[in-house]
Structures are given as structure tokens and as C-alpha cells.
Amino acid sequence: MEVLLCGGGIAAIVVLVIFFYLLNTARKKVPAAGAIGKKNYAPLYISLADKPMSILQGMNRLKAEVQRTETAGDKWRWIPMLIFFAGIGLALIDGLLILLGYFSLVFSAGGLILWIAAIVMARSIRRSDSLDFSPRYEGLKHILYTLRDDLRPGSTFLGHLDLTGSMLPTKVARSAKDTQNRTTNYYRDEWLALKAKLYDGNVIRISAVQKSKKRASYTKRSRISGKYKMKPEKFKGTMQDLKVRIVVNPEMYQIGSSSTLSAGQNIGKYTVTALSTEGGIINLAASSPFEEVEHENILGVIQSAYSLLQRKAA
């Protein structure tokens, strides 16, 4: 009897686990708009070496393909659940036969195979799910669209958009230990690098870097009880750096007075931290304490850097 109860209990747990797995597959989680908490985005890396419209079309096409895969999967989300219930139905036939005094496991065996098939299908459907695209994806599209007419004819944008994640182990720039021997990791994520030769002969380089700080998890011994406690990792903050470098075409421009733009000046969410105009090159560095900066702010910094240029008389 104990063996029967144990076996029945384990079987019931397995059936419940399968049921909730398939239920979660059927009911796709859609985060509410404006939901609180950190959101995960699709880990995406794009190398840029093309004309602006080609890049924009490619980006639109990529998003559409991801959505098409997801939509195709969404259509069949309830099928694994239905197959699960079909399996239950088969097992119930065996139950009915047993109630009638006959012993049979044939239908249950069929039901079990159906459940395995349902799990395989649910896994495949889940694999077709994708995370939302980061707002930076759309932001880059806006930046490229804005600068499209300023590009020298026939030339391309160069660079990358790295949305694989700002705090990956491969993005630890350095680590430091405090007096309590706790490790803090400093992350450097250059999520946007862009270079373009402009119509007026200038060359512009934009580099957006997200810097983050996170204390690694550690084990601490309580002074009172003597027990060891595991402290989880702790996010300590993040900031955005933006560097704009313009190599000026001396035949077209001269660099004007920097009195209109100086360190400490706010441009949107950014604050200018350094400005140099030496050697015919404008180097502007700005930083923002915000985790997310919109494309308007980046374009604003570029515009401010460009405002230092004065067109030479013809």
C-alpha cells in the first residue's frame, strides 16, 4: 500500500509539473505596460557597415522576422495543452476499464507518449518566443534616419549596436576589493559605436558607453550566531557616457569659441564633462546618471558639438 501511495504521489507530482509547464506555455506572459522592475530585452548584436537606408531596412526586416516567428508560434500555444488533456483522456479510459474490473495500461502508455510529444512541442513553441527589442534599437534607427542626409554620398555608417547586455561577465572592465574583502565589479558596455564621413567633409565618431557597478555575492559569518550567510550580489548603480569626436574639414569650417559650450553644461539628460577643440578636432565627453538615455539626448549632444563649427566664407 505504501509503495502504491508513494508511486501515486510521484505520478501526481509529475502530472502537475507537466500541466503547469504546458499551462505556462499556453498563457504567454506579456509584461504590462509600465511594469515596475528591470526588463529583459532580446540579446542582439548588429555590425554596421552600410548605407543608412539599407541599415534601416535591414533593421525593420529583422524585427519583422522575429515577430513573424513569434506570431507563428503563438497561433499554436494551446495545442500542447490540448494534447495533454487528450493524454489524460486516454489514461481515464484505462481508469474506467480498471473500475469495470479489467486491468489495462495500454491507453495510459499512449497518454504518456502524448504527454512527451506535448512537452516537445511546447519546448519548440517556447523557443520561437523572443524578448522585446530594447528601446535603444529604435533609438539607433532614429539617429541613423536623422543623419541619413548628412552622410557623404556613397559612404556608409560604420560601427556596432551591442544589446547583448550591459553586465555580462565579458564586460567586466575591472574589479576592486573593499576593506571587507568584498569584490565589486565595474562593467563597461560600449553599446553604440558609430563612425561616418559627412557630406561637409567632417568625420564624426560617436561612442555610447554604459558603466555599471555591482557587488559580487559573498559569504559572511554572523558575529552572534556564528552561522555562515550567503549575501546576494547587489547592484550599486549605473551611468551613461557619451563621447562625440568630430574631425573638422579645415577647408569648410573653423572651430569657434567654446564659450557657448563648456564643462558642466546640461544637454538633455547629459552633462558635459570635458570639451577639447585642439588640433582641429572636437572631443566632447558627456555623462548622464540615468540608466536609459533616449536618442533625442544623443542627437542633442551631437548638435551641440556641431554648434562649435563656423562655416568659412566662400
Binding site: L44, A49, S128
Partner: protein, 519 residues
């Protein structure tokens, strides 16, 4: 192979496997929906039956139910009414026609006024011998020796005594010092003998003069029975030991034909025609711990057919062809009151349990109907056992296999209709020479930037290497794009043979994995 085809290929392979397994089950006769049921015809209180038999004791052509316990001998008619009953002190009974009237008589060996033998014929009891020099009754049997029937008595001290049908003692034998545990008629060369066994493990075959033909000694005994298993005119003597020894001896000379250790005391041994093949007899053995074994004897030796189990000590075994397929099913009872039917392949089917342990089971016709008579510690119950099955159920695996295969093919079709998820590492690249050269310059600038960051301490360790690896990989892709477009390019990168990371030409050690390289 196209990604759309793969789900179909997998589904078809799986479907074939499922259908093959289903076919094995369907055509191998491994699946059947069969059940045995029972309904009670009548029951009468009767405690602790020691002996029971459905047999015609009145000569009317209709069987009656004979039953005996430690103090009484009774006979019921087919409807459950008592025809006659007699009280005795410690009776042991056997059946046989000793007065040659063509009707079986009940021979009672009891210890009322000294040891005595009564013959009950058609309800009339007659003492044929008394004050016999033998002790407390243990076993008795009517043996039809060539010279005529004798009633052989065995007591609890191992003594044997034979009396003729007139009550005269014919021979006496002090066989052993312990209780006689088994007594059965045994054929030797077509001549009837008596096989006897005592608790101390002595087994012997004795002729009509009381001479021991052969005698052997084995481990302590619980059961002994003799059958001519292969109908060759020589019986086989089957014994079950106190410690699990199961032996089949030849009744001719006591040679061992088969033996096996069963791991628990043997509590009952019976023959049952399980496979319906008359050229062999099957032996069903019950153990003290509930073990059940079936053996088949082919005339030379035996082999095990299957094993099963009951919940407690197997107290009785009987054979009945319930489903009328020409093969007997073994009906077993245990000391907890459970009754089960074991089929030819050892499948167990439970019948309703009794409230106390089963003591005897017999099968026979009562009032024209075939019944299973089950006696427990409190009562004797006559039950009708029936069999039913769902016709065509053996093909159900094929049906289930078809359903499962159809579902798998539908799943394959659905999965094939879902387009593959696009790669999330993409490159938008203009293939013009100017663009490729610009990209190359940009990548070199970026590599220089990373080097500068490392020198300034802003970037160290893994992050530096990861970024460098990615930029160099992009540089390698750029070189490939150059070559694909047919432009001349001076190759500056190569792949590490160990980790596959892209390195600058000329490096003699991989920065990512430490592999020494020659480039």
C-alpha cells in the same frame, strides 16, 4: 536537410517505432482485457476445515460436498443442506470405495476408543478396526494395491500401520520418529505402492507387504505428493521442504529428477493443467511467505514457467478451467483470506477476499453447476466463478499507436509551419570596396581604442580580451568580404587552431586560450 523536413522525419521515425511496439503487443498476445469474477451460491458455518472434496458419496450421480475438521465429518448436498455429520476425536479422513459398492466411502482414522478406523458409506458409519497399535492420527490413505485395497495409517510419531478392508492389520512399520506429513499412492512399473514422508525429511516408497522399496533423507518436510506426471506408469514424488527445497524424485528408485531452492518453506504443492498440453503436467507450488511458482514436467525434468505471489502463506491450490479454453487456471488461497486466480502466463486476478484465512479450496459440480468451494476458518462458501473479456481488445495497441502517430505527425506539421527564429547577431554590410576599406579602418581604430583603454587601466582582463576578440572577428569577416568581392587584401588575421578565436597574423601565442601558434 531543410529545417521544415526534420520534424516530419523525426515524427515518421517515432511513429514507426510506436507502431512496431504496438504491433508486438497486439500480435504477441501481450494485451488482453480479461477478468474473473465470482458470486456466492451458498455458505454454511464450518470452522477450520482440514479436508474437503466435492464427490458423489450417495451414489445418486450427483456430487456432494464432503468436509472434515478437527472434530467433525460432514456431508452437504448441492444446495448446502447437511446430509449427515459425525463427531470424532482428532479425525483424519480419506476417500475410497472400500466396500466395493461403486460409491466412494469416507474412511475416518480417529482416536476415540484407542486408535480406530471407521468407514462411512452412504451416511452409515461402521467401525472396522479399533484399539490399533498406532498413535495420534496424522495421515491416512486408501491404496489400491495389486492384491486389494488397504487402508494405510500414519501417526504423529512416524509409525505406519495398514489394515485391510475387513479391519485386519496387514503390516506395520516404524517409519520415522516424527509426524507423517505425506501419504499418497504411487505407481512403480504400473503397480500401486504407497509413498510416505515424515517431518524429519524421510521419504520412502513402500509395497503392499510393507517393504521399503527405497528410502531417502532430505531437509525437513512440509509437503509430499505423488503423481504420474507423464503417464508412463511410474509416479513422481514431489516434496517441499521446511527451508525451501523443492524436489521431484522418481518413484521407481528415488533418483532426483529435479530440484530447486525456493527460498521459503513450501506450504502446498498441487498439479494443475496450466498449458492444456496433456503430454506434460504443471506443478504449482505455494510458499509460506506467499510465493507462488509454476513448473512444467516433461517426463525427464522440470522447468520453471513463472513466479507470482500472494500476501501471506499459501494454504491451498486448486485447478479449474474457468474460461473453458482447455487450460486450467490455478485458484490459490492464503492465510489472510485472499483468493486469487493465476492464469497460464502467471497473471494474477483477485477474487473477493474472505474475512479469515483460507483452509481448503476444491472445485466440482454441485447441482449440475461447476463451483469453486472455499473453506476458511469460519465457514464454507460455494461460489460460481466466471470469466469475461472484451472482444478484440488485443488490437487496442494498434489503435492507440495510430492515435499517437497521428498526433505526432500533426505536431510535426505545426512545428514545420513555424519559421526559424532569425539569428540575433546580424551584420548590415555594404560590399563596395570603399565601404569595406572604411569598415576596416574603423575596426583598426576600435582595436587601438581598446588597447589604449587597457593601457590606461580603464579596461582589464576578460573584458579587454572579449572586446578584442569580437573586433578581430569582425576584422576577419571584413577580410572574407574583401576576398568574396574579389578585391585584393593583405590578410592580417588568422584563427587559433585551439579555440577558434581570431588573432593578428604574427602572434605566436593565443591571447584567449594560451595555445602556442605558428603563423
Amino acid at each position: 536537410m531543410s529545417k521544415k523536413i526534420i520534424p516530419f522525419v523525426v515524427a515518421i521515425i517515432m511513429s514507426c517505432l510506436v507502431m512496431a511496439v504496438a504491433a508486438v503487443f497486439a500480435f504477441g498476445g501481450l494485451v488482453a482485457a480479461e477478468k474473473f469474477g465470482s458470486s456466492s451460491a451458498w455458505s454454511q458455518p464450518y470452522n477450520t476445515a482440514e479436508s474437503m472434496k466435492v464427490i458423489d458419496l450417495t451414489g445418486d450421480g450427483q456430487d456432494e460436498l464432503f468436509i472434515q475438521n478437527t472434530s467433525n465429518v460432514s456431508v452437504f448436498d448441492g444446495a448446502g443442506n447437511i446430509l449427515w455429520n459425525f463427531d470424532y476425536s482428532t479425525p483424519k479422513t480419506t476417500l475410497g470405495d472400500v466396500n466395493n459398492d461403486g460409491v466412494e466411502d469416507i474412511i475416518v482414522y480417529h482416536s476415540g476408543a484407542g486408535s480406530a478406523v471407521d468407514v462411512i458409506s452412504k451416511g452409515q458409519a461402521q467401525t472396522i478396526a479399533k484399539s490399533l497399535s498406532i498413535g495420534t492420527p496424522a495421515r491416512n490413505a486408501v491404496i489400491r494395491f495389486p492384491s486389494g485395497p488397504q487402508i494405510v495409517l500414519g501417526d504423529s510419531s512416524g509409525a505406519l500401520l495398514s489394515v485391510g478392508t475387513n479391519g485386519q492389520t496387514t503390516w506395520q512399520n516404524v517409519f520415522s520418529s516424527e509426524e507423517i506429513r505425506g501419504m499418497d499412492d504411487a505407481l512403480v512399473g504400473g503397480q500401486m505402492h504407497v509413498a510416505v514422508a515424515s517431518h524429519d525429511g524421510t521419504v520412502a516408497v513402500i509395497d503392499e507387504q510393507g517393504n521399503v522399496i527405497w528410502q531417502i533423507r532430505q531437509e525437513q518436510l512440509r509437503r509430499m505428493r505423488a503423481f504420474d506426471l507423464n503417464g508412463d506408469g511410474n509416479s513422481e514424488v514431489i516434496t517441499g521442504g521446511e527451508y525451501g527445497a523443492f524436489f521431484i524424485y522418481s518413484a521407481v528408485d528415488g533418483s532426483v529428477l529435479f530440484n530447486q531452492s525456493l527460498g521459503q518453506a513450501v506450504s502446498e504443492v498441487r498439479t494443475v493443467e496450466l498449458n492444456g498440453d496433456p503430454s506434460s503436467r504443471e506443478i504449482v507450488v505455494g510458499g509460506k511467505e506467499g510465493g507462488v511458482w509454476a513448473f512444467s514436467f516433461d517426463g525427464v525434468t522440470a522447468h520453471q514457467l513463472w513466479t507470482g505471489s500472494l500476501s501471506d502463506k499459501v494454504t491451498e491450490i486448486s485447478g479449474l478451467d474457468i474460461n473453458e479454453d482447455g487450460k486450467e487456471e490455478a485458484v490459490l488461497g492464503d492465510d489472510l483470506g485472499k483468493v486469487a486466480i493465476f492464469t497460464e502466463d502467471g497473471t494474477r486476478n483477485n477474487l473477493p477476499s474472505h474475512s479469515s484465512g483460507i483452509t481448503r479450496i476444491d472445485i466440482g459440480k454441485l447441482g449440475g453447476e461447476r463451483y469453486v468451494v472455499i473453506a476458511d476458518y469460519n465457514q464454507v462458501e460455494v461460489t460460481k466463478v466466471n470469466f469475461s473479456s472484451i472482444p478484440g481488445f488485443k488490437f487496442v495497441p494498434l489503435l492507440v499507436g495510430l492515435i499517437v502517430s497521428a498526433v505526432m505527425l500533426v505536431i510535426a506539421a505545426i512545428l514545420a509551419s513555424i519559421p526559424p527564429k532569425p539569428e540575433l547577431k546580424v551584420s548590415f554590410q555594404d560590399k563596395s570596396r570603399e565601404s569595406l576599406e572604411a569598415e576596416r579602418r574603423m575596426l583598426k581604430e576600435s582595436i587601438a581604442d581598446v588597447e589604449r583603454l587597457r593601457k590606461s587601466g580603464e579596461m582589464t582582463g576578460e573584458s579587454y580580451l572579449a572586446r578584442l576578440k569580437r573586433l578581430r572577428a569582425d576584422l576577419a569577416e571584413n577580410e572574407t568580404a574583401f576576398k568574396t568581392a574579389g578585391f585584393q587584401i593583405r590578410v592580417e588575421t588568422f584563427k587559433c587552431p585551439n579555440c577558434g578565436g581570431t588573432l593578428e597574423l604574427g602572434m605566436d601565442k593565443c591571447e584567449y586560450c594560451g595555445q602556442v601558434t605558428l603563423s
